[in-house]
Amino acid sequence: MSDPAGIFGFVRDLGTGERRGRRVDDGLAELDRWLRDQVAHGLARAERAPYRLWDDAARRLVDAQAGALAARVRALAGVPREPGWPGRLLAEYALLRLLVRAHRRRDALPAGLHGTVRARVGFPVARDAVLRDGERVRDRWWVLGTRDAAQDVLTARRVWLRGERTGRPALLLTFTGPNDAPEPAPPPGARFEAELAYYPGALPLRALVAERLAPDETGPGAPPGTSVQGFLDEHADAVAHDPWLDRYPATLTDVRLARDATGALFAVDEPGDALPLRGPVPWTLLAVAGGERVTLAGEWTPRGLRPLTTWHPAEGAVPL
């Protein structure tokens, strides 16, 4: 396991904060020009643009030591192949510029938002600093699900947690190199008593396990969840704190699956509110739910809910 600080080889520069700060400033100024160019010349060009368009911009951000931003820019290369891409691309460019502007005005921002902006740009936060200064929350944490994603040569693992007593969400983010043995993922549906330390930010989400107080418990039972409306309210509040939020954990209670006229799947709760599902057809979810109501945890993204885990009375917690 390594901190994302290690990914881009910035560790050696950690001590020279001032120089780094100037490079980031320059890099973001260049990104701003690039963004305005894209819009000035028209997004329509993006449909036929080569991958290089985004990759070059991302590379310059890596050179400027804005690693998180670079990854965000590089991920945009796939957008013009999706339906409804122009709106999505404009939204992402707009949020990037919002980040550039926020960073420019960082000294006027409240401390929490400042932390969020720094993290979104890619300033590393040392593990020790999180353990020393981060907000500590003790709870019985439910493992909602795990998602591994390839990121350059690394594998990024997101483990989503939800506190049973506080209701707080948490994200354990780890990176594994190609030669590291992957750590065993905690089984979805497990819960453990622990104290987490949150990374600084206006919306505390990313966290470290500061102190584990008990081993994993497994067994029957589902994590506490919400209705669709309850989740959307919580999410709206979260976006208000971190406008760049693009993944947020949802645990929906008593939802059943339904299809719209095009066959796209939705999760519908008891009052009849529905959220669209995203990604390939979730056959395992369909098989386990069998048209009945289940508890469903997923990652909410601007494009829909990506299913992570479902809980069924007979089958227990089933990763999806």
């Binding site: 701003d32 963004l35 305005r36 160019d37 819009v39 000035a40 010349h41 028209g42 997004l43 329509a44 122009p86 709106g87 404009l90 939204a91 460019y93 707009a94 949020l95 510029r97 919002l98 502007r101 669709v228 409306q229 959307l232 999410h235 709206a236 976006v239 208000a240 406008p243 939020l245 059943r256 699956l257 339904a258 299809r259 719209d260 939705f266 519908v268 709760d269 009849g272 509110d273 529905a274 959220l275 669209p276 057809v281 056959w283 395992t284 369909l286 098989a287 386990v288 739910a289 069998g290 048209g291 009945e292 601007p302 069924h312 007979a314 089958e315 089933v318």
Partner: protein, 495 residues
């Protein structure tokens, strides 16, 4: 949006309230878009469930799911570990009235896409949830035709018969044959003349289910069909139908070939006179001029030849009762000497007849030793006719009587599992004997036998094989022991 697509150089973006006062049009557009994006993301409104079609609930399961340990092992198997044992896992679970848990159904149904042989086993073990799920994915729709479909369970079946693919229609028809053979026959009769020949053959094949004398008229008519496969299939089905005129025609021919000489000085014997001519009637009844195997070498000399092959075919299609009523009980008949050395033709023909007619007494007599069947496969196939508790001993007898290794292996490859009792002991003896020897022949035997034994041999044999003193154990043997142990643990979890 239009401004963003065309470019702010060509079109001025609209001005919204609340956005900052940048003078650069592109920057202004981005800033306004950011505001809208955050508003939109924070203000996501739930879709209305009323506009959606709920996924129909799956039918209630009757069978319980397998225990957790068995489910965990199935997950490993589906991930590729010892994948060849999958049919045995499924059949064992279904045999004990258990079903696959819902969460493993997608991976299981995916396996069945590429492996047709697996489909009946999947259909038995997947439960009602499996069928429900398969109906939602066209890639898995094969399951609908793979199981014992009952006409009442299959409301889509009648529609499938009208407009489905050949495979789907044959599946519906075989399901109907299982419950109401006459209705299936009448249904087929309606469209019979309009179906293309390959379809007629596929549909006629379903008559294997629920075959009875009521089908005779239909099958007799099919003997004059335009399609060669249809004619052959009709003849083969008629040969399995006791009491049909077809059997009497064959018996007529067969009786002209075989004579019992009871007054001979060395005791009674059978005289054989193979047919001299091949006529149109014989061809109509499904015996071609060159029957399969007529060029095969006969033990100790030249090919079987067409005349002997006709005789074998005639005997294979003659009701065995013909001989029992004329010559006495089967075990006596099998032991009768044959004048002129034609015993091989007789016994091979009878072995095929016993298999076709599922005749236990004849199977027992032919497997009892002394039968001069020159196709070891024909005898091995007869094991399936015996009651399950007699198979092991009979198979062990066959193994002991095999004249050489090559025939032994051919034979064992045809003996279905499970290999238990005396047969298991005999196989273990061969395996341990071969594993100790450095010769190429022994190695070849070991490799080939391990390959068929791993899925059939009683898992209890694992420890006896593991205790073999040869060091190091040859690779096929260690693989065999590993598979046997895996199967042993698997069957224990399912019991």
């Amino acid at each position: 949006m239009a401004a963003a697509l065309l470019g702010t150089e060509r079109r001025d973006p609209p001005v919204l309230d609340g956005a900052g006062g940048e003078d650069d049009a592109a920057a202004r557009l981005l800033d306004q878009a950011a505001l809208l994006t955050v508003r939109r993301r924070a203000g996501v409104v739930a879709a209305r469930g009323g506009d959606l079609e709920p996924v129909a609930p799956a039918p209630v399961e009757h069978a319980p799911a397998v225990p957790d340990a068995a489910a965990a092992r199935l997950a490993r198997i589906l991930a590729g570990e010892q994948i060849r044992v999958l049919p045995e896992w499924l059949d064992a679970a279904a045999g004990r009235g258990l079903r696959v848990p819902a969460r493993l159904l997608p991976a299981l149904l995916e396996r069945g896409r590429s492996d047709r042989m697996l489909r009946p086993s999947i259909a038995r073990a997947a439960g009602r949830r499996g069928m429900w799920l398969a109906l939602q994915n066209t890639d898995w729709a094969y399951l609908v035709g793979a199981g014992p479909v009952r006409s009442g369970d299959d409301p889509a079946g009648a529609e499938a018969w009208r407009s489905g693919t050949r495979h789907r229609r044959a599946a519906y028809l075989s399901g109907l044959r299982g419950t109401d053979p006459a209705a299936a026959r009448d249904l087929l009769r309606e469209t019979w003349d309009r179906e293309p020949a390959p379809d007629r053959a596929a549909f006629l094949g379903t008559f294997a289910w629920g075959l009875s004398l009521d089908d005779e008229e239909f099958l007799e008519a099919a003997l004059d069909d335009r399609g060669k496969d249809v004619r052959q299939l009709a003849a083969d089905l008629l040969a399995r139908l006791p009491g049909a005129a077809y059997g009497e025609r064959m018996a007529e021919r067969a009786r002209r070939c075989l004579t019992l000489r009871s007054g001979a000085p060395d005791g009674p014997c059978i005289e054989v006179e193979a047919p001299h001519e091949h006529d149109a009637g014989l061809a109509r009844d499904g015996v071609p001029f060159h029957p399969g195997g007529s060029f095969a070498p006969r033990p100790g000399g030249g090919p079987v030849g067409t005349r002997a092959a006709w005789l074998r075919e005639i005997l294979a299609r003659t009701p065995l009762a013909t001989w029992t009523s004329a010559f006495g009980p089967p075990d006596g008949i099998v032991r009768l000497p044959v004048a002129g050395g034609g015993a091989g033709d007789l016994h091979t023909g009878w072995a095929r007849a016993a298999l076709n007619q599922r005749d236990v007494e004849w199977a027992r007599a032919l497997l009892g030793g002394g039968a001069a069947v020159d196709e070891p496969e024909a005898l091995a196939d007869l094991l399936g006719v015996l009651p399950a508790d007699e198979r092991g001993a009979a198979a062990a007898g066959l193994v002991r009587g095999a004249p050489d290794r090559a025939e032994l292996l051919r034979l064992l490859e045809r003996v279905p599992g499970p290999w238990t009792g005396p047969l298991a002991a005999a196989v273990v003896t061969i395996l341990t004997g071969s594993a100790g020897q450095p010769t190429r022949a022994a190695e070849h035997t070991l490799v080939r036998l391990c390959r068929v034994a791993d899925l059939r041999l009683d898992p209890a044999a694992a420890e006896r094989l593991a205790g073999h003193p040869v060091r190091p154990h040859p690779r096929p043997l260690t693989d065999l022991v590993e598979t046997l142990r895996f199967r042993g643990a698997m069957l224990k979890e399912l019991s």
